[in-house]
Structure formats: C-alpha cells, structure tokens
C-alpha cells in the first residue's frame, strides 16, 4: 500500500519502524484515511499528524511519559501564571499545618487539665491554641481569594487561547469533530486545577508526615496494617478514576448529538422547516435513541462505581476498627495517657480523611496528566492545521498593487479526505483591471475557485501566484486586504450596522457614507430610528433588527466597499434581490469595480454578459474562455445556458 502511495519521506520510514510493534492495524488505518494514488500537498501533512500521534502513543514507557507530562504541566502553569504556583505553595503549607496544630493543641489543653494545672495556665493554652488556629485560617482564606481571582484570570487566558485556535484554524477544520472532541477533553488539563491538586497533594504530604511522626511511637505491626489497607484504597481509587475517564470518552459523541438535536428543536434557523414538515416526531425519536444510549452507558458506569466504592468502604471500616481496638488497648495497658489517646484519635480521624482525599487527589492528578496528552495532541493538531492563518505572520512582502497579475498555475483541488477532483488542472490569468465573469453548473467548482483565491484552502496541486509570488508565502493578513469578497452565504454579526461595515478599521465618515449610498442601503438606514447604530438580531441587543435577504446582501456589499480592496469578488451578489434592485445593483457594482479588478459569479447570465472576459467551468475544468460574443458564436455550454435563460423570457413573445 505504501508503494502505491509513492511516499518517500521520514514519516514513512518512522512508520515502518513501528509497524513491527503496532502491526497491520496501522496499515489498515492509513489505507482507510488516505486513498489518493498520487501524493498531494495536504496529504503529506495529514500523514505527519497521524504518524506523530502513533509515535507518541508508543514511544517510551508509561512512566517516562507521565513524568514528561508532569513537567509539561508545570511549565505551562508557570507560563500562564507564576502567581498561581506561588499561592499553591503557600496554601499547601498553611492548609497542611492547620489540622496538625488542631490535634496537638487540643491534646496539650486536655493534658493541662488532667495534670491539674491552675486555671490561668489552662486558659493561656486555650488562647494560644485558638489564636494560632485562627491566624492560619484567615491566612488560608486570603490565599484562597487570591487563588480564585488568579484562577479566573488564567481560565480567561485559556478560553481566549481556545478561541484564537478556533479563528485561526484552517477553514476546513472549523467544525471538525475529532478536533472539537480533543478540545473538549483537553480542557480538563487546566493548569489551575492541576495546581490546586498539587497544592492539596503537598498539604497532605505535610499532614501525613506529621501523623507518621505521631504514630512513630507505636507498634510496627500497627503501621504495617495501616499501610496495607491504604494500599488497597489506592488501587480502588485509581480503578475508579480510570472508569470515569473511559466513561467520559464514551459519551462525548452522544452528548454532541444531543446538543445538535436540541439546537435543531430550539434554533430559529430550523424553526420554519421543522414546523411545516411536522418534524417533531423525527427529532423526538432521534433524541430518545441517543438518550437511551447515554443512560444505559451511565447505568453500567454507576454500577461499576458502586462496587468499587463499597469495597473501599469495607476496607476503610476495617482500618478504623483496628485503630480503635489498638489504641484502647494501649490505654488499658497504661502505655499512653488519655490526652495522648485523644491526640491519637484525632490523628486517626485526620488520617482517614486524608486517605480518602489523598488518593482521590493523586488519581485526579493522574487524570490531568493523562488529559495532558490529549491537550498536547490537540495543540499539535491545531498547529498543523492552522498553516494558512499562522504561517509567515510577521513577514511583510512588497507587492506592487498598481500593476499586478494573479495566475492559477496548474491548480487542482480535492477536498481533504475526499476523492472527487473539484478543480482539474486550472490555468488562468487575471490582470489588474480585468472584469471577469465566472459561470458554470452547480458543482462545477466556481465557489471552490473562490475559496482557493481567498485562501480558505490551499491548492492540492499547483499554485496560485500574485506577481509571481506564491500566495501561500504572503502573510494572510496582508493578502486578505487585497481581496474584497461578498460571499454567497455572507454573515452578519449581531452588532450595529456600522460595526458590520467598519469593524475595527479606522473610521472615515466620507468613505462610510459612500459605501452606504453606493450599496443602496442609505434609504433603509435613514428610515431607522437609530440609523447606523441600530443593532442586528437579538443576541446582543433586545431591540435588534432582522434584515431581509435583500438588505442583508446590500450590507455585505457596503462592507466590501468600505474595505476598499483592489480586487473584488462577488459570489452571486444579487440572488436575493428583486429585478429592479438587481438591475440597479448590478450597474452599481459594475461602476464601483470600474477602476478595480473584479470577478463575478452569477447564475444570471444577463449580469455576466457585460464582463470583459467570461470563464466557463465544467466539472472543475475551464472549458470556455472569452467575451460574451465570442462564446455565443462557439455554441458551447455558455451558449446553451444563456439561451435557456433568455428563451424563458422570449417564450411568451413579450
């Protein structure tokens, strides 16, 4: 299979190494993933990601990996907030010592009573005991406050990080399930949680040390008994956590499905469709099935958990029994005083509490370490899949925009993980000032061509150049400024009309008014009470407005006009407009684009008729290219499509 794929790179060689260990499983997985016969640009990236994943899974022992992850977590915590680490350390000391002070302090007070010290001495001991306890407590609260504030901050930092990932990732992966999955799971490897766990861990160690010291005066057999029962506790808690981890993984997909169905039931977007088509039953059925799945998995999980917890309880009770029986015997045998007995009991109670929490704590840390793997996998995936936004970010390339040419050189394109060739060896040139129409049947590749031009995707083969420079090498920010596009499915944000046009660009009153007027939006805006400060939709402002299809389209056009790019692209810019508006708009666009380069996609061939050149795509190939007159004479596809439309008007004879 590898031979067929004709790979010859280090990923392949590394993979061969592991094939022995991993077996034909990998080969099968690969062959399912990549069915191309000829390697393409993105495909090699995919292989890289995949082999990295496999490599990381099997490289090194488990403990090496855990240590590596632990170090990574600390590094990450340090990076995100040094303060959190510092606070965690302080907290561990204060919370660690406080219970010990309690136990010993009380013992001292009781001892002072039993040894019949005068009341004033007893009172002194009481005051010291309570005072120190209070001091520790208050310091603990203050540390907690700082911790919570810092944690909130870091949580924000992390959420913003996730958001940045989301807006920078290559367009194709915006809704990619495997990445969304990874992201959700990786959120559990949050440094703040981790540090809290570490802090607790340290305080437990301190308490444990104190207890061991107190117990050190006791029999070795007793200590052994305690440690053996504790060992069983550990094993059980680890088993519990593992089950929890697996369970959560199992349910992720189902939970996403429930979310989707719920969205469909409640979202405005689907509202009309599901009502007119009585979709209630279908949705209810789907939801019910997924719900049944989740609940049966949950039930199984709960049963397993109950078993583990019950066993744990039995062990803990045995422990308690041993302690009480032994201590009472020591008092009976006059080996210890009542005061010491109280201290031992206190230490026992503390030990029981610690044990329950301590191993839970370790299991939690262990889980965070495990999820760190997922976090790293997630970060790796993001890095590899955000090439378009993030590469060459800080470069600035000089491009002469007074005189430019865009060239598609042997461009082919296949959507990731699919087989169909959507663009097939396209060669075309667009010079500054050209007015180009792009026509073709649905699925011929028109929108895909635009997606490549605007760099939502990289070509699978071949390249697109601007003045000879591969556009992949131009920083996306710089390149996006050159092209102004009105998308077929343009998106309006729930902010003001003005903001939907200007966004965060410097505001220029003249340019703004020009954009509104030329796009035909002026009258509409004037008719509104808040004019251009009117909000759209209702998410941000309760008084937000829904725009009709036509006004929305005009707004999208105003947006592009304000951007003032030199290369304009219009993807079906007038499909929602009525005939008169369409006619007017088209001539507006035609005029706006007069000194610029423009590319129009439209099904209404009456619009593209006036372009300087028309490109006709069919099944991803450019089959015709020329002026309207030239193409009509050819009597090819263009002639056929134009005639179908024209004849519909001329049928009735007017």
């Amino acid at each position: 299979m590898f031979e067929k794929l004709c790979i010859n790179n280090s990923s392949y060689r590394r993979l061969r190494d592991y094939e022995q260990n991993v077996g034909s499983q990998i080969v099968d997985q690969l062959s399912n993933h990549y069915r191309f016969v000829v390697p393409t640009n993105d495909w090699i990236d995919e292989l890289e990601i995949f082999t990295n994943r496999v490599y990381n899974k099997y490289k090194g022992t488990i403990y090496m990996k855990k240590t590596k992850n632990l170090i990574y977590l600390f590094k990450r915590s340090w990076k995100i907030s040094k303060g959190l680490i510092f606070i965690a350390a302080l907290k561990s000391i204060f919370f660690g010592l406080q219970p010990l002070i309690n136990i010993v302090g009380l013992g001292i007070v009781i001892d002072s009573l039993i040894t019949k010290l005068p009341l004033s001495d007893v009172i002194n001991y009481i005051l010291i005991f309570v005072g120190v306890n209070l001091a520790f407590s208050i310091i603990g609260d203050i540390l907690d406050l700082i911790d919570v504030i810092l944690q909130r901050k870091t949580s924000d930092v992390m959420q913003m990080e996730y958001m940045e990932d989301c807006v920078n990732i290559n367009y194709h992966y915006v809704q990619d399930k495997s990445i969304l999955d990874l992201k959700k799971k990786s959120m559990s490897a949050h440094p703040a949680f981790f540090l809290r766990d570490i802090s607790k861990f340290s305080s437990y160690i301190i308490q444990f040390a104190g207890i061991v010291f107190i117990f050190s005066l006791l029999s070795v057999y007793f200590l052994i008994a305690i440690f053996i029962t504790s060992f069983f506790n550990v094993v059980l808690v680890f088993a519990k956590r593992k089950k929890e981890f697996n369970f959560k993984n199992e349910c992720v997909e189902d939970e996403q499905r429930i979310e989707y169905i719920f969205n469909v039931m409640t979202g405005y977007r689907f509202a009309k469709e599901i009502r007119i088509n009585n979709a209630g039953a279908l949705l209810k059925g789907k939801y019910h099935n997924v719900m049944k799945n989740i609940l049966s998995k949950f039930k199984r999980f709960c049963n397993k958990l109950t078993l583990i917890n019950t066993t744990n309880t039995i062990i803990t009770v045995i422990q308690t029994f041993i302690m009480y029986a032994y201590f009472s015997y020591l008092v009976f045998d006059n080996k210890i005083t009542i005061a010491e007995y109280t201290v031992l009991l206190g230490a026992t109670a503390l030990l029981t509490n610690i044990l329950i929490s301590f191993f839970d704590n370790i299991a939690s840390i262990n889980q965070t370490i495990k999820y760190t793997d997922l976090y790293r996998e997630y970060k790796n995936d993001i890095k590899m899949r955000s090439g378009i936004s993030l590469s060459n970010q800080n470069k600035k390339i000089d491009i002469d925009m007074d005189n430019y040419i865009v060239v598609f050189e042997n461009v082919s394109f296949v959507y990731p993980n699919t087989k169909k060739i959507v663009l097939d060896n396209l060669n075309l040139e667009i010079r500054k000032g050209d007015r180009i129409g792009l026509v073709g049947l649905n699925g011929s590749g028109k929108t895909t061509l635009i997606k490549l031009l605007t760099r939502l995707y990289n070509p699978t083969k071949g390249k697109i150049t601007l003045n000879g420079i591969d556009i992949k090498d131009i920083p996306l920010k710089q390149y996006s400024d050159y092209i102004g596009i009105v998308l077929q499915d343009f998106y309006l944000f729930a902010y003001t009309i003005k903001e939907n046009i200007v966004f965060n660009k410097p505001f220029n009153q003249e340019k703004f008014e020009f954009s509104i007027e030329k796009s035909g939006l002026l009258n509409f805006i004037d008719s509104l009470e808040n004019k251009e400060e009117t909000y759209l939709y209702k998410e941000i402002s309760k008084d937000g407005l829904e725009l009709s299809g036509g006004n929305g389209q005009k707004l999208a056009i105003a947006r592009v006009m304000y951007k003032d790019s030199d290369f304009l692209v219009f993807d079906e810019p007038t499909s929602s407009l009525d005939p008169i508006a369409e006619y007017d708009m088209f001539w507006q666009l035609y005029n706006i684009a007069k000194d610029k380069t423009s590319l129009f996609i439209s099904h209404r061939l009456s619009s593209t008729k006036f372009c300087d050149k028309i490109i006709v795509l069919d099944n991803g190939k450019m089959i015709e290219y020329g002026t309207h007159e030239e193409l009509m004479e050819r009597k090819g596809l263009y002639h056929e499509l134009f005639s179908i439309q024209a004849n519909q008007y001329l049928k009735e004879g007017s």
Binding site: F262, Y491, S576
Partner: protein, 589 residues
C-alpha cells in the same frame, strides 16, 4: 426572596419529571446528618469505660465491633444512594432538555424570536443546574439537621453553656443575614453577558462566520469582542469573590471567640468536677463539629447564591413546560380527503409583526382557485414572504381571515394542515441526518417515493454515486462521515422535502436562487409536471416563472398593486411590465 422562588420553581420542575430524585433526598439527608453525630458520640463511650475504676477491655472491644458494623452499614447505604441519585439526576437532565426541545419545536414562530425564549433554551441546555442546586440544598438541610442534633447535645450540659453557644450562633446568623441583604442584585447584567458570551462562542464555530472572519481579516476584531465581554464579567465577579472572602474571615473570627469561651467554660466545669474528661471531649468535639457544620452551611449557601446569580428565570420555564400549545387543543377534526383539491381565499387580511407598528400586509383580498399556479412578485420588503408565512400558519392575521376550501385555516389542526402543504423557504435548512430522512423527515421513509422525488429534482445520479447512498449522513454534527453538499444540491434536497409529502398546496419561496440555468430549467420543467395536480404559489425574482403561472400577483408595500395573467399585465404596461422588460432586455444581444 427571589432565590427561594427560583428554587421553588426548580422543585416544581423536578417533581414534574423525576420526583424520585426529591424522594431519595430524604434518606440521604437522614443518613448524612446522623453520621457525624454517631462519630463524635462514640469516643465518649470508650473513654468513659477507660477512665473507670475497673476497666473491662472485652466490653470496650465489643463496642468497637458494633461501631464498625453500624458504620459499615451506614456508609454502604450512602454509596448506594449516591449512585442512584446520580443516575436519576442524569436522566432528569436529559428528560428536561427533551421536553423543552419538543415544546420549542411546537410553539408559535413569533415566540422563537423572543429573548425570553432564548433564555429558556439556555436553561434547557444547562438543565443540570437544577440538580446541582438541589444537591446544594440537600447538603444545607443535612447540615442543619446535624446542627440541631449538636445543639441538643450541647444543651445537656447546663443553661449558661447553652446560652453562650446560642448567643454566638445568633451573632453569626445575624452577620450572615446582614451580608445577604447587602448583596446587590447583579443578575441581569451577568445573564446578559452570558448571552453575549454564548453568542460569540457559537459564532466562532459557525461555518458562515468562519468564512467572513478569515476573508475579511476579522480575527482580531472578534477576539477583542470576546475579551471585552469576559473583562466585563470578571469585574463583577471579582467584587463577589472579595466580598465572599471577607465574609468568611469575619465569620471565622466570630467562631474563634466562641471556641475560646467554650473551652473556658468546659475547663471550669472539669476543674469543678461537674464533668468527666470523656464529657469534655464530647462537648468539645460537638462544638468543633458545630463550627464545621456552620462553615459547611455558609459555604454551601454562598455557593447556592453564587449559582443563583447566574440563573435565569425558572418561573418562566415552568410556565413554558406547562403551557398549552394554542394549536393543540382544537376540538374540530377535519377530514383530509376533502383537501385533494385546494382553493384559497384571503379575506381582508392585514398583518403586522408582534411588537412593531408598521403593517406589512394591508387589506389583502385574494382568491386562488384549485390547481391554479400563482406567482407573487414585488420588491424586497413588499410582503411576499410574510404572505407565505401567514398561509403556513406561522403567524395569525391581525385582521381578516384566510380560508382553504372555505374553512378558516386556524380551525384546522396544524398536524393535518402541514400534511397538505409543501413549502420550500428562502432560508431552508437541511438536517445533519441521513439523506433519506432529510427527504421524508420521518424515521420510516417510503423509499420508492424518496427515489421518485430525488429523480425529479435531478439528484439521483449524485446519490447513487455515494457509498451509503440514501443512508449517507449530511454534515458532521451527527456522524463524522457526513458529507457536504453544494448550494444547489442543498436547495434541491429542500425541494424534495416538499414534494415527498405529495401536498395539495405547494409553496415555493425563491426555489431556484442557488441553481444554475440548467438545473433551474430542469426544476421548472419538472415542476410543471409535478405541480400539475396541485395548487401552487411561487415567489420568484426571476420573472420567467411567470411563464408557468396562470396568474401573477404584484405586491408593493403590503398592498396588491396588480393582479392578472402575464399577458394582461404586459398590456397594462404597469409595474410588472417594467420589471419584466428590464430583466428580459438584459438578455438581448
């Protein structure tokens, strides 16, 4: 007060869907509150016997065994209860979400746009908030019961002791109350911030906005919006955190004073020989546990209030799930067989959208005969889509009535009415389920019919080329192997949905906007065949649809401007004629 009301509303909801959850809270409370008492009382029994003049170790040993067994039983019951409650909680969360979803899919369309509805949807998607809140309350009640038991123990000593403890208790409660009153109500701003945050989060993962963000360099702008929103929320929350910490500290000081007083009093009583050292430990650990319990209570109440700050109006949720749907309780039943032929009449229909002033439709009087094909044209905003929405029963006319076969459409149950209408909207939406399900919108699909309508729109070859054919999933929300469709294919799929129902009335709102000339032509040719037996209403900007139509309705600013056949209107040389000529002439060459 508001918190209690909200909690009451939550309880009502859980009683409605999963009352066992509440019922199980009772044994939980009992067991959990008994346990601490049990644990502090037990040492007293041992110590009493240890300081006796004659110590009987065997007796002590027996007591320890009994203690162990009782402890075991209690804890095992705890474990079992916890597990049951988790399961029921999960079941409840899913159930509630389902109910909200189902009702949402049936409420009037105008309600779906309201903010209050969106709030309900948020409540539905965060349904676990209810179980979390109830758990908090259960813990609070448990601790209160433990508290009362401890007070009872403490009261056994003497009056002074009891009064002292009570005073410190009261002081603390007063302080808690004072703090509670002082808390400002910042719920609204937090919940509106939450709404904005949800919106931004959803937008980031949306394909449509994703394109805009990238092609227009909006990433920075978008991220700033997000960080501004979070900064707002954080400011409010920091104040909360600080207040909370301060309150905790003051409470701890109060408790420390109490501890000193307690130990003092107990010491005096021991020295005076009123109590033994065993009693001393008992009373002291009671007070210590009491402090712990009170801390627990204040912690959980704090968490409860924190929870409540972010909560929306659960009263509305109750109203929502208990509200009868208007269109459900119609007593009349209509025989569908009468509807294979449909004629429509609009009588003096006027309409304006709720909470607006402007009339979108004014005095519409229109008759559409059986099997007639009507095209509605007009400028954007003229009211075309609105007229369709009224006919689909998404909104009710403010004035006038709409009749189908002389029956007021609002007298026909929605479920039946939807069977005789097939509609394709301008903003159609396909679902992320299987292709065949997208056609039939049903769990069971009549495959012969599905294939038939698929062929009629020209999707047959495409679907046959797919590996899973009609079982192929759409998009990736539901199944990772889902495919993407092009704009035209999507539209064709939406059209099959309308056709599958074999409706008597067909409504098409811009059905070919995304289609290329060949596909558009295909649709219109096939439509002619399919719509032959149906009353059909088109909205189209492409006036070529007029060639298929019997009559044309021209709307302008909500009123009927012109009405007639294509030829009649061309002769009139009015609005329609102007529009038509403009489009047609563009094709002349």
């Amino acid at each position: 007060m508001r918190n209690q009301r909200t909690t009451l509303e939550m309880i009502k909801i859980i009683i409605k869907y999963e009352p066992i959850y509440l019922i199980l809270m009772i044994p939980q409370i009992i067991i959990n509150s008994i346990l601490p008492i049990f644990i502090i009382y037990f040492p007293k029994l041992i110590i009493d016997r240890l300081i006796a003049d004659e110590v009987n170790y065997k007796e002590i040993f027996n007591i320890v065994i009994i203690y162990g067994l009782i402890l075991l039983v209690i804890r095992v019951i705890q474990v079992y209860l916890q597990s049951r409650v988790s399961l029921i909680g999960e079941r409840f969360t899913l159930k509630l979400k389902k109910e909200i979803g189902i009702i949402s899919s049936e409420v009037d369309l105008e309600d779906v746009e309201k903010t209050s509805f969106k709030d309900i949807v948020i409540m539905g998607s965060k349904a676990s908030t209810i179980t979390q809140t109830l758990d908090l309350i259960q813990i609070i009640i448990t601790n209160i019961l433990t508290l009362l038991s401890l007070v009872y123990i403490i009261a056994q000593l003497d009056l002074l002791f009891f009064i002292t403890i009570s005073i410190t208790f009261i002081v603390k409660s007063l302080f808690v109350y004072y703090v509670y009153r002082k808390n400002k109500k910042i719920r609204t701003s937090v919940s509106s911030n939450t709404r904005v945050l949800n919106y931004l989060n959803n937008t980031a993962y949306n394909h449509g906005s994703a394109k805009e963000l990238r092609t227009n360099n909006l990433q920075e702008w978008f991220l700033k919006k997000l960080s501004d929103c979070r900064d707002e929320m954080v400011k409010i929350q920091y104040k909360d955190f600080t207040r909370y910490a301060l309150n905790n500290i003051i409470m701890k000081i109060i408790m420390a004073v109490q501890t000193i007083i307690v130990l003092w009093l107990l010491a005096i009583r021991y020295i005076d020989g009123v109590i033994t050292i065993a009693d001393f430990t008992l009373y002291f650990s009671s007070v210590a546990t009491l402090t712990l319990t009170l801390n627990n209570i204040s912690d959980k109440i704090g968490a409860y209030k924190q929870q409540m700050l972010n909560l929306l109006d659960y009263n509305k949720l109750n109203g929502f799930v208990n509200k009868p749907i208007k269109t459900r309780d119609l007593s009349k039943d209509i025989d569908l067989d009468n509807f294979s032929n449909i004629s429509i009449k609009f009588k003096d229909v006027s309409f304006k959208y709720p909470s607006t002033d402007k009339y979108v439709l004014k005095n519409i009087n229109l008759t559409i005969d059986d099997h007639e094909k009507l095209v509605i044209v007009g400028l954007n905003g003229a009211g075309k889509s609105t007229l369709i929405k009224l006919l689909c029963k998404f909104y009710k006319p403010v004035e006038g009535e709409i009749y189908v076969n002389d029956i007021n459409i609002w007298d026909i149950p929605n479920e039946k009415y939807n069977k005789i209408i097939g509609a394709v909207f301008q903003d159609y939406a396909n679902l992320s389920f299987m292709l065949k399900e997208n056609v039939s919108f049903n769990e069971d699909s009549n495959m012969a019919l599905v294939e038939n309508v698929i062929t009629n729109v020209g999707l047959y070859k495409f679907i046959e080329s797919l590996e899973n054919k009609y079982d192929t999933y759409l998009y990736k929300n539901y199944n990772s192997s889902g495919i993407e469709l092009s704009g035209g294919q999507s539209q064709k799929l939406a059209i099959t949905r309308a056709m599958y129902k074999e409706p008597s009335l067909l409504i098409l709102d811009e059905p070919t906007a995304s289609l290329d000339p060949r596909a558009e032509n295909e649709i219109y040719t096939n439509f002619y065949n399919i719509s032959k037996e149906k009353t059909t209403i088109f909205i189209s900007h492409r006036l070529t649809a007029s060639t298929i139509a019997d009559k044309i309705l021209v709307l302008n600013e909500g009123e009927i401007l012109e009405y007639g056949s294509h030829n009649e209107l061309m002769i009139k040389e009015g609005f329609y004629a102007t529009m038509y000529k403009k489009q047609r002439d563009a094709y002349k060459y």
